[in-house]
Amino acid sequence: MATVLTAAVWAALLLVPAVVRNAYFLNGMILVFIYGTAAQAWNLLGGYGGQLSFGHAVFFGIGAYASTLLLAQAGLSPWIGMWAGAAVAAGVSLLIGYPTFRLRRHYFALATLALAEIVRIVFLNWPLVGAAVGMYLPVRLMNQSWAMIWNTKGPYYLLALALFALACALVRLTDRARLGVYLRTIDEDEDAAQALGIPGRRYKLLAMGLSAALTALAGTLFAQYVLYIDPSTVLDPSRSVLFAIMALLGGRGTVVGPALGAGFLTLLSQYGGGTLGGLGRGYDYVLYGLAIMLVAVYEPRGLVGLVERLRRSRGAPAAGLGPSPVASPATDPRPGGERRPLLVVERLSKRFGGLEALRGVALDVRRGEIVGVLGPNGAGKSTLFDCVTGFLRPSEGAVRLAGEGGERSLTGRPPFWIAQQGLSRTFQLIRVFPGLTVLENMLAGQEHRGEPLLQAFRPSPPEVYARALELLRLVGLEAARDLRAGALSYGQQKLLALAMALVRRPRLVLLDEPMAGVNPTVVERLRQHIRAQHAEGVAFLIIEHNIEVLMELAERLYFLAEGRVVAEGPPEAIQRNEEVLGLYYGR
């Protein structure tokens, strides 16, 4: 139904110039498409990637000036020149993105603002591009298609429509393909995405480059249409604001949102302009500002979010726990004898200012082993996990993981790289991606090692889907696969988090208090799943306070207190260890 509707809309749009002659209306539509393209481009980065840019006009301007310059000075056709503009814009965007993506998003937002101002001031004073006077396009080339200059609106309309269609197609592709899932996880919780092996910066840069290039194309078309550019029209901050607002009001991170926003705002200013725009774009921006604040407070996902909310309130099925067909293995698979080491932690220390959280911790996990870590509060258990998985840099010591080509050092490597070596983890406070569906959460957990960048534009391969669904079936969440993960109960989210960690078939899974805060039924299920995975050869390192569970599952235990390993050995030995008892229970 939706596809038929969409096709009908596009068809209608295509036929407009044949039917409508009103120049004012056509003008409005052309601007809708041009701005809409820029809004979609902004959406790629800000909507999916979560990096809000408030200086996007800089790319618009680069596109406009580059193609115009090449046309005026070198007689180069804008059909080619626009790609030069896109390339320059993309390059500049990466220069800004690379250093700022690792910082908080506020820094990126302001960096784009600063960049836009810098470029605007430069262009205002640069004779080559006409400084404040700007540049006129060579009107003498009127009606020469190679120069992309016509004296009727029709060709512009079709070209703008084509560009807008391209932009929408690109966003739709992103939305459906892996890239959409990856970007949205990075937007919602970059740390958790990294823990699944997703290289955050790389995908953000990809989105950034595409976004800049697409905006530049829109800029070129704008120049060709208006036939005059100067810093106040193409590099103005209000332009940047406009693109952002269109996407935000319509709904960032959706395919339709920016289109809605662009249509609504452009037509509003075209036709409402009489009443509202009296003082030169004054009043309408006041309303936009107000609208943005309302959106931020009540519905961050804009118009699209509002519509979805209405639809959802019509009784969405609450997911219970489905049947869990995991049978505990009949025999207790604790093979005796030596097993090769998998994870080795040596002399690990971590200091925070004056506080020593870890002191010379030594620990190892052998292949296929279940090892437990227990200890009182503040013992450093989560810090240990963070050091092993790359979220903290150890002050001293080393972490090594055995692999095909021998041992690899994990010390100081970024979390996504460590995850890609075959390590998985969950967090004490569960981190699933609440805005994504359960299935999408699982897809985020697929193997990312050696994944070529451009593969992200394709949907996840069938094997991954199969594996994801299989795991969901095992944990009893298959029926909930299209629900937003945020709608699940706490226990369900715990099961989802475990399943997500298993998609990649890791060799070692680190679980941080998996049994915390859930009822005994869920505890039992989790226990069974861990057992089942263990039977398939997966090793586990588990921090847990639920003593019964830990004693039953673990083959070996480490008792940590005040940042040191106080005791190590099989559960029975630990239970009898007087020092442990003293530390845990008190003297």
């Binding site: 019964e548 630990i574 009898r576």
Partner: protein, 246 residues
Amino acid sequence: MDGEGPRGDGALLEVADLHAGYGQQEVLRGVSLAVRPAETVCVIGPNGAGKSTLLRAIFGFLRPSRGAVTFEGASLVGRRPPEILRRGIAYVPQGASVLPNLSVEDNLMLAAYIRRDREVGRDIARLLALFPALGARRRMRARTLSGGERRMLEIARVLLLRPRLVLLDEPTIGLAGAATAFIYDLIREFRGQGVAVLLVEQNARTALRNSDRAYVLDQGRVRFEGSGEEILAHPEVRQAYLGGRA
């Protein structure tokens, strides 16, 4: 263990069938306990049992999903921490809660934030005399205090508030020998002044030795209750901590 715990008459604080958690996480699954005036009651149990959550729920940092909390007959559920403080309950959270960049004196002054009477200055001077270690450092930033001294400061702060009930969340965590003894001296001092204490401890034995009554919390429920000595001697309690046969 049959509870001699007071239900009803004479109880200063009463908790009945309390359920609470964080978001959808259920941590407390029906906890009931009581504290009489001037009594020292401790709650022990393994990690994750919900001890800290219990105190936080009483003090208003989280809202229980079910159950009742009454203090001197009035319900505390749904009230915010500053209100609960004004009713006569003081709370010392786990870990350091001194304000590191303020001086010792300022920390004390802030502790008396809700007091509007003129005797605050005199009381502060008296406290600083009572705790020479703090007095010596009155103008230095609290950051410079050792762990034990900070805990001292936290508990001294409480005295300024003249509460009728003090909630202590693991007061001896991270402290060694002498400092621990000192803290328990202070707790005895509370009892001497007629202040009830509800303390949560991981260091169970010392707490039990110094308490009138105790509750053992496990997986969000009370598993045992009794006098301090009774619980200390109970063989199954150790099991709750480490499982297996002792």
